[in-house]
Symmetry: C2
Subunit: 223 residues, 2 copies
């Protein structure tokens, strides 16, 4: 059984990604990160998702990169803004986050002999984060094959981003077909102490829009 590393945040997209990798027959090694995010409900969700979707393993890596700050997601002195239609990159952008995540995913993958790394990046219903775009994914794959012993010795790493060109509604429909329980996933950038979503941030807005367009009841626990 071929191994894959799945970056698993506890959100809707990465849960769907895990279900897709599993359906493709991979032994799924899930990898989650502590990076100074505002709450740890994401990790609780990631653990449940990994278990429910039958991951072979679930690793959690404490990145310590939260110390760099400069993002509303890792610095509580910066407010998370309400959703507003825009094409600029919002203050919830975390400097080099997906580069750091994929770099760790690559190290983990090479160590266990996995050559497929799944990331739930999406370039349709998203916040214009630069590290969710096809050009970024392509550049990281090129890097991965130059950076590693396995790459030099003839293995080929593939960065699998199966959600890249899907709408949020299409992602949800895909996941429903694969048995993802979205009530377990959390998307909100600023969950309250009970783990309930704000309903106002970008991430909540894209999620709600996705369920509405997919004509599926939204299982999110709102405040």
């Amino acid at each position: 059984m071929k191994k894959a590393v799945i970056l698993l945040s506890g959100g809707l997209d990465s849960a769907t990604c895990l279900a897709i990798a599993k359906a493709q027959g991979f032994a799924c090694h899930a990898l989650s990160f502590i990076y100074g995010q505002r709450h740890d409900y994401e990790l609780v969700a990631a653990k449940r998702i990994a278990q429910e979707l039958g991951a072979s393993e679930h690793r959690i890596v404490n990145l310590d990169s939260g110390q760099f700050g400069a993002s509303a997601l890792t610095d509580t002195s910066i407010d998370v803004p309400d959703y507003a239609e825009s094409t600029s990159i919002p203050v919830t952008y975390v400097p080099a986050r997906n580069t750091i995540f994929l770099a760790n995913g690559l190290g983990f993958a090479e160590a266990i002999g996995a050559y497929d790394i799944f990331i739930g990046a999406n370039a349709i219903d998203y916040s214009h984060y630069p590290d969710c775009r096809p050009a970024f994914i392509d550049a990281f794959q090129t890097l991965a094959n130059l950076a590693t012993k396995a790459g030099v010795e003839g293995k080929h790493f593939t960065i699998q981003a199966p959600l890249l060109h899907l709408t949020k509604a299409h992602i949800i429909q895909t996941g429903m077909g694969l048995g993802v329980d979205y009530s377990v996933t959390v998307s909100c950038y600023q969950l309250n102490d009970k783990g309930e979503a704000c309903g106002r941030c970008d991430s909540c807005a894209f999620r709600a829009k996705g369920f509405a367009e997919a004509k599926i009841a939204d299982p999110t626990h709102y405040q």
Copy 2:
């Protein structure tokens, strides 16, 4: 004063890199990593070097990627081999190490508004690590400019690898000219409890050869 991020390991190469960046007029923000290495003398050395060479700041990031293992440098059950002339990649290779280091360097750089990231990678007197080659450095720079808000908004990140094509002797001569005290730096992969070098590993061999070729007395503390 333009800021630069300097990846600082406590070794000979990165100390030289810091001295070069400083001589070029950068305000130097040094960045060191705990990544499960066998000893912490490297970090002690990095702290002294940062201070002696006048870094503006010295950050230490605890990476937690040592849990991936699969290297003699992060898994004490794998022996560090003695130096032997070879063109294959040795077991001291750490999966995706420089990718993880540079990814963190990029996050730090973007957070503080630095667009030059110095790394002491060398492709002449080295252990054939894939992530010390020019193609890797180029690919990371391409990635950096696609991955970041700053890159998208018109800033340009440069991965500065001033030692890439120098021999170890040339590196040492350069550093001596810039006032680097190499007695503070540590290169050995398996220092003993007193911080003394083995004199047998690849890293010791390249270092000793460098001092010999440069006709400079080797200040290394050997066992």
